[in-house]
C-alpha cells in the first residue's frame, strides 16, 4: 500500500462525492493506494499543496495550472479533466435581473471574488459574443454572495453552478435563475487531477492507478447518486443529504458530456485543451505557455471508463 495524499479544491461537499466513493468502496485500496483526502482552500492553494509536498495529488483547474506555471514557477500538470464543462454560473432572481442570455451581462453588476478568474472568463466570453459594454464586478466574499443576492443588495452573483441548491433555498426555487456559461457556448476545461512533473516522471504507474480508481468512483457516483450521497454524508460532518444529492446531479452534468460518453470519463481532448489554454492566456497578459505544457493525457486508463 503506497500512502498518498489528495487535496481537494475546497472542503468536502456533495460535488466531491466521487472521491469518497472510490475511497469507501475500496477502489484505491484495490489499486494498492492508501489515500487520504484533505480539505483545500481553493484551486490555487491546492496547487500550492502539491508544490509544498503536503499533498501529492490535487483537484485543481486548468486556469490554476496555467497561472501557477506562468507566475509561480510551478511544474503542475493536469493528467485528467474531470469538469469537462466549466462550472461558472451567474445567478439572479427571476423577479430581478433574471439573467438568461449573454447580452444581459452588458453593464450588469455581478458579485464576484477579488482577482477571481471567473471575472476574466466572463469578460472573454462576452468579447467572444461581441458584447462591448462591460459588466461591473463587485468583490464579495463567497460566504456572503448568496445572502447579498437574497437580500436584493446585488442583482446577480457569479459562483459555481453547484451552489444552485443553496441559492434555491435562499431565494426560493421558483425565483432562482441560473445561467451556466458552458451551456451558452463557453468552451473551457475546468477542474481535474493535477500532479507535479517530477511525480509523473518518477511514479507514472501510481498516478495511473489513482486516476483509474477515481474515475471508477465517478462512474459509480453518476450511476448511483443516492448511494454516493450516503457515503459523503457518512464520511463528512455537517452535510445535508438533499443538498448533496442535488450537487451530485449538477456536477454529473459537467462530468458526463458527449465527449466523455464516447472517450471515457476524465478524457482530455487536445483541441478543447488548446482553446481553454488560449482563453486563459488572454486573462494573463505577458504569460507565454503552450497548451502542451499544462497537461499530459498519457496516464489515462487504456480502456476508457465509460459512464
Amino acid at each position: 500500500q503506497t500512502p498518498l495524499t489528495f487535496s481537494l479544491d475546497f472542503r468536502a461537499l456533495g460535488r466531491h462525492a466521487a472521491w469518497f466513493v472510490a475511497l469507501d468502496k475500496g477502489y484505491y485500496k484495490q489499486a494498492g493506494l492508501d489515500v487520504s483526502i484533505i480539505a483545500g482552500q481553493g484551486t490555487a492553494q491546492a496547487i500550492q499543496a502539491i508544490e509544498a509536498g503536503t499533498a501529492q495529488i490535487a483537484f485543481s483547474d486548468v486556469a490554476g495550472v496555467v497561472a501557477a506555471r506562468a507566475n509561480g514557477g510551478s511544474t503542475a500538470r493536469m493528467v485528467s479533466v474531470i469538469y469537462q464543462k466549466a462550472p461558472y454560473a451567474i445567478f439572479s432572481l427571476r423577479d430581478g435581473a433574471n439573467v438568461r442570455s449573454a447580452d444581459q451581462l452588458a453593464g450588469l453588476e455581478i458579485g464576484s471574488g477579488a482577482g477571481s478568474f471567473t471575472q476574466k472568463v466572463i469578460e472573454a466570453f462576452m468579447a467572444q459574443k461581441g458584447i462591448t459594454t462591460p459588466a461591473k464586478f463587485t468583490n464579495i466574499d463567497p460566504s456572503a454572495r448568496v445572502g447579498m443576492l437574497a437580500a436584493k443588495k446585488i442583482p446577480s452573483i457569479e459562483t459555481f453552478v453547484m451552489t444552485r441548491p443553496g441559492v434555491a433555498k435562499a431565494v426560493g426555487s421558483s425565483n432562482a435563475r441560473t445561467y451556466l456559461l458552458a451551456n451558452d457556448g463557453l468552451v473551457l476545461y475546468s477542474n481535474g487531477i493535477v500532479v507535479r512533473d517530477d511525480l509523473i516522471k518518477s511514479k507514472p504507474d501510481l498516478i495511473k492507478a489513482f486516476i483509474a480508481a477515481s474515475l471508477q468512483g465517478w462512474k459509480d457516483t453518476i450511476a448511483k447518486p443516492e448511494e454516493a450521497a450516503d457515503i459523503v454524508v457518512k464520511l463528512n460532518k455537517g452535510l445535508e443529504k438533499d443538498v448533496v444529492l442535488e450537487e451530485i446531479e449538477i456536477v454529473s452534468e459537467l462530468v458526463k458530456t458527449d465527449v466523455t460518453a464516447k472517450r471515457g470519463l476524465g478524457a482530455i481532448d487536445p483541441e478543447a485543451m488548446a482553446s481553454s489554454v488560449s482563453l486563459i492566456l488572454q486573462t494573463l497578459p505577458g504569460a507565454k505557455l503552450a497548451a502542451g505544457d499544462v497537461y499530459d493525457a498519457t496516464l489515462l486508463p487504456a480502456t476508457p471508463v465509460l459512464p
Partner: protein, 256 residues
Amino acid sequence: MPISSDAVTRIAYPVLGLLLLLLLWQGYIVLFDVPQAVLPRPLAVWNATVNNLPLLLSEGRVTLLESVYGFLLAFFLGIPIAVAISSSRTLNLMFYPLLIATQALPKVALAPLILVWLGTGIESKLAIAWLVAFFPIVVDTATGLRSTPTEMLDLAASVRASGWQTFWKIKFPAALPFVITGSKVAITLAVIGAVIGEFISSNEGLGNLLLVANSQVNTPLAFASLLALAVLGMVLYAAVAFIDIALKPWFSEVRH
C-alpha cells in the same frame, strides 16, 4: 440572603441581555424582511442547534481543545518573550519590530507556509492559535514588567535579590494584573485562531462545520456553529476572569 440574591442577578442580567439581543434580532428580521440566507430567525437557529446538538458538542470539543492548547502555548511562550523584551534592550530592538510585523499579517495568508512546516494535523492549528493569541500577552506583560513601582525595585536591590528573584518575587507578581488582562484578550483570540486554523485545513471543529454549512447555504446550522463558538469564547473568558477574581485578594488595596 444576600448571596443568593446576588447569584440571581449574576444569572438574570446576562440572560436579560441575551433576551434583549434575541428580541432585536427577531424584530430586525420581521421589520426589514431579512432573508434567511442572510440572517435566520432565532427559532430556526435554535432548532438547528437542538437537532445538531451531538455534532455541535463533538465539534465544539475539538475547537475547545485547540483553543485551550493554543492559549496555553501563547501564555507559556508569550511570557518569556515579554520578559526578554522588557529586560534586554538589544532583543527588544532586534525582534520587537518583527513581532509586530507578524501581527499585522492576515494569518490566513500564511496558511501555505504553516501547512508546509507543520502539516495538516493539530500542530498547524495550534501554531495559528498561538500566532493570533500571543501578542496581547506579550504587550500587556511587557508593560506590566516595565511599570513595577520603583520602591519595590529598591527593596529588591536592597536585599540583593538576583535578576531571577527580582523577576519572580517582585516584577511578575506586580505585573500579574496586566498579565491577566492580556490573557483575557488572548483567550478569545485563541478561539479565533483555532477557527482560522480549521478554515485553513481541517475536517473537524466548529470552524469547519461553519464553512461546510455556509457553502451549503445552511444558514441556521452556520449560525448554530457561531452560537457554539460564542458560548465557547464566553466559557473560556469566564475561566480566565475566575482566576482574576480568585487572585484579587492578593492585590487588594481596597478600603471598605
